[in-house]
């Protein structure tokens, strides 16, 4: 540790690059120190904090900073160091000289912790992805994963799970997702054997994403139902899982489950993850339409989402009015958006809902109406509209969508009187669902309280208490800011 302090003091005056680089470099060194402490004391939380600090650094990462960091952390000439340095462009040789000069002035006591090594892989990967050098990112991540397979330490898991994510991302951005499916499955197996829960979660999500990318809903569901489930370790992974689950359920026509999952995912997602929330909301809107309920206007007017949700807003309008023609025009006008979101088939399913809503409006407004008029109002375009209308109305009555009877001889539909709803059990049921939701929320909040792991064992000295309070303050600050929370 003392050597680190000396190093810091020496490199600050001797580093001649622009003023932002030392601070980034210093932050990287602080992170490295954090990781070391965490690795030695086997506390995973410190490593999580280290990762979180890296997120803020991402913008400041430059090749020179990273190569300096690599020189600092890894034994130069080791296999990992040479491999990783080959990805970084050899910029100012001047900088490198200065840095190597300063680093050789002190006795290098680098234990070359595996955590630090994998962390370096992660840094280089982020840099490559940000520079859009995806092929090199692919190679780098494959090398990193090969290294991780040999390690079996809980403290590495946190960093390794980020590595898996970038592995999958680099392949996805080059369009080769199908290649890594076997690898991801093998990694998931290894993670389960080692009881690496965070890794399991991450890999399961990556696999689901892989299957859903190719529309293989059947296989995705089979994997999901067989994979072991446990309490979520990471909020972001949980949100992703809920989103994929909602998608699968929608395709399988289980709309109620899908709605719950999608709405929960949209709610739990951090406020800065705008793209993700937009997607969740799009699917949630469609599922609610398919269930027969109309989402309120405020859903579409959320900040930053108005443009993206515009097609869905028009669609909801068409369904609400129950006008088939309008529905068809809207569907055709925004067909490209819908096919980009892969919701095309779902929109087709909505046609049936449009007819139902139209029928419901008619049945509420008329006490008696001839079937020919019903067909005209619904704008059913077919060969035999009256017979169609008759069968459609009969099915709607059987499904309980409308309350009416048909008179075949006169070709009329006669609506029944809607009774007083407060004299039935309906209010009780509605209240019950709301109460259950609130209680559920309270229970989840209680369960989410975290306590430091060995706190009940040792008595706190004054120093430790100060340290703990400082940590809690920092944590509260992080949560309050939620700045650039990575997704």
């Amino acid at each position: 540790m003392t050597q680190d302090v000396e190093m810091k003091e020496q490199s600050v005056p001797s580093n001649s690059v622009s003023s932002t680089a030392p601070s980034a470099f210093q932050q990287l060194k602080e992170i490295a120190a954090l990781i070391e402490i965490g690795a030695y004391s086997r506390e995973v939380r410190r490593i999580v904090r280290a990762i979180r600090s890296t997120i803020q650094l991402r913008r400041k990462l430059k090749a020179s900073v990273i190569s300096a960091f690599l020189n600092f952390v890894l034994v130069p000439g080791s296999e990992a160091h040479s491999r990783l340095s080959s990805y970084l462009p050899k910029e100012d040789v001047h900088d490198m000289e200065v840095d190597t000069a300063s680093s050789t002035t002190q006795v290098p006591v680098k234990h070359s912790l595996p955590e630090l090594e994998i962390y370096c892989y992660l840094l280089v990967l982020k840099f490559l992805v940000d520079q859009k050098r995806y092929n090199e990112a692919k190679a780098c991540s494959s090398a990193g994963i090969a290294r991780v397979k040999n390690l079996n330490r809980r403290t590495v898991d946190v960093i390794a799970s980020r590595l898996y994510f970038y592995y999958s991302l680099s392949y996805e951005l080059t369009g080769d997702l199908a290649e890594i499916r076997g690898n991801l499955l093998a990694l998931h197996r290894i993670a389960t054997l080692r009881h690496d829960e965070l890794g399991q979660e991450t890999l399961l999500n990556l696999l689901l994403r892989n299957y859903l990318h190719y529309n293989l809903y059947d296989q995705a569901e089979k994997l999901r139902s067989k994979a072991p489930r446990f309490e979520a370790h990471s909020n972001q992974q949980f949100c992703r899982y809920l989103f994929y689950l909602g998608k699968i359920r929608t395709i399988q026509l289980e709309y109620t489950d899908a709605k719950d999952s999608l709405l929960q995912a949209a709610r739990k997602a951090p406020a800065s993850a705008l793209g993700f929330r937009v997607q969740c909301n799009k699917w949630a809107v469609i599922v609610r339409l398919l269930l027969g309920e109309i989402p309120e206007r405020t859903v579409f007017m959320q900040k930053g989402m108005e443009n993206a949700l515009r097609p869905y807003f028009e669609l909801t309008n068409a369904v609400r009015i129950g006008d088939l023609k309008l529905f068809k025009t809207v569907a055709e006008r925004f067909a490209s958006t819908f096919s980009a979101d892969r919701t095309n088939n779902l929109i087709v399913r909505l046609r049936h809902n449009v007819i139902r809503t139209g029928l419901r409006n008619i049945s509420i407004s008329y006490s008696q109406i001839s079937l020919a008029d019903v067909a005209k109002k619904l704008k059913l375009d077919s060969a035999n509209p009256v017979a169609d209308a008759e069968s459609i109305v009969a099915k709607a009555i059987r499904d309980g969508a409308i309350d009416a009877t048909l008179d075949h001889a006169n070709g009329r539909m006669i609506s029944k009187e809607t009774g007083d709803i407060y004299s039935t059990n309906e209010p009780q049921i509605a209240f019950n669902s709301r109460i259950a939701f609130c209680l559920n929320m309270h229970n989840e909040a209680v369960r989410a309280l975290r306590f430091p792991p060995n706190s009940h064992k040792e008595k706190e000295s004054a120093e430790k208490r100060r340290e703990r309070q400082q940590q809690e303050q920092e944590l509260a600050k992080h949560i309050a800011e939620e700045d650039d929370d990575e997704f």
Binding site: Q252, I392, A394, K395, T405, H408, N425, Q428, N443
Partner: protein, 266 residues
């Protein structure tokens, strides 16, 4: 050419001849022989090795399975159809250099129709997701999709008229099955929607050719319907008694759970 392949092709020719002759038992026998012979080829799924004759072997295997699918439709064995279709599916999804088969679209449409008839709508939609949007324009598949839509909406007469416009003769079997399902559906809907129907109307709606058939159907399937004075009365009296009872068990459960949760709040 590889002697095994020649032998297999010859057997396949005999199978096709028997199929045209409508000699289904011999067909079935040949088919089992063909399937056993196919296991000796390494280039087929799930191994997918690259032998020199890989393309030929795979094309041959695919033809064999396609004919197996058509055979199972002819002998009206739905489970065999399902099995053969699953064996055929990898040939369509992982093509590995095969020419696209002309029978692919009709067979895919046939599978969709089968799922619809067996009322496995969730799987129907999952399969639909796998198809690229260009496939949706194909008449065979479009036919199945429109059928499903009409079925969901309840426009059953459209379903029945679609029988006339089958794109492929193998579809006729499923359309007949579908007609039966549709009849049950119409009966269920009419029960709820109408108070009573004249015998003529009922006969027309349920697509019977004579009154005796109608009466027999009612006696078998819906004994609770009454036939009086040339009218069919659907039993609806039991619905009109308003439920005055309170669902006490449910209310007790709910209230107890509230009390329990409230106690837990510290």
């Amino acid at each position: 050419m590889d002697p095994k392949i020649t032998e297999l092709s010859q057997l396949f020719e005999r199978f096709k001849a028997a199929f045209v002759r409508k000699d289904f038992d011999t067909c079935a026998k040949f088919l089992s022989q063909l399937k056993v012979a196919l296991t000796e080829f390494k280039s087929l799924p799930p191994l997918f090795e690259e032998t020199p004759n890989a393309i030929q072997e795979r094309t041959l295997a695919r033809d064999i399975y396609e004919h197996a699918v058509f055979l199972s439709v002819k002998i009206e064995d739905q489970e065999a159809l399902e099995r053969d279709f699953f064996q055929l599916k990898p040939y369509y999804t992982d093509t590995h250099g095969l020419q696209p088969s002309t029978q692919e679209q009709p067979i895919l449409g046939l599978n969709l129709l089968r799922l619809l008839v067996q009322n496995r709508i969730a799987e129907f939609h999952t399969e639909l997701e796998l198809l690229p949007s260009s496939a949706l324009e194909n008449p065979c598949i479009k036919h199945a999709i429109e059928l499903e839509q009409s079925f969901m909406e309840g426009a059953y007469n459209r379903v029945l008229s679609a029988r006339q416009t089958v794109p492929h003769e193998t579809y006729v079997y499923f359309m007949d099955l579908l007609a039966k399902t549709v009849r049950d559906e119409i009966a269920g809907c009419s029960e709820k929607a109408y108070d009573s129907l004249s015998i003529n109307d009922a006969r027309q709606m349920l697509l019977f050719s004579s009154d005796q058939d109608l009466v027999k159907y009612i006696e078998e399937e819906h004994p609770e319907w009454e036939i009086r004075n040339g009218f069919v009365f659907f039993q609806r009296a039991k619905e009109s008694t308003p439920c005055k009872e309170i669902p006490s068990l449910q209310l007790i459960n709910q209230t107890l759970s509230y009390a329990r949760e409230l106690e837990r709040i510290v």
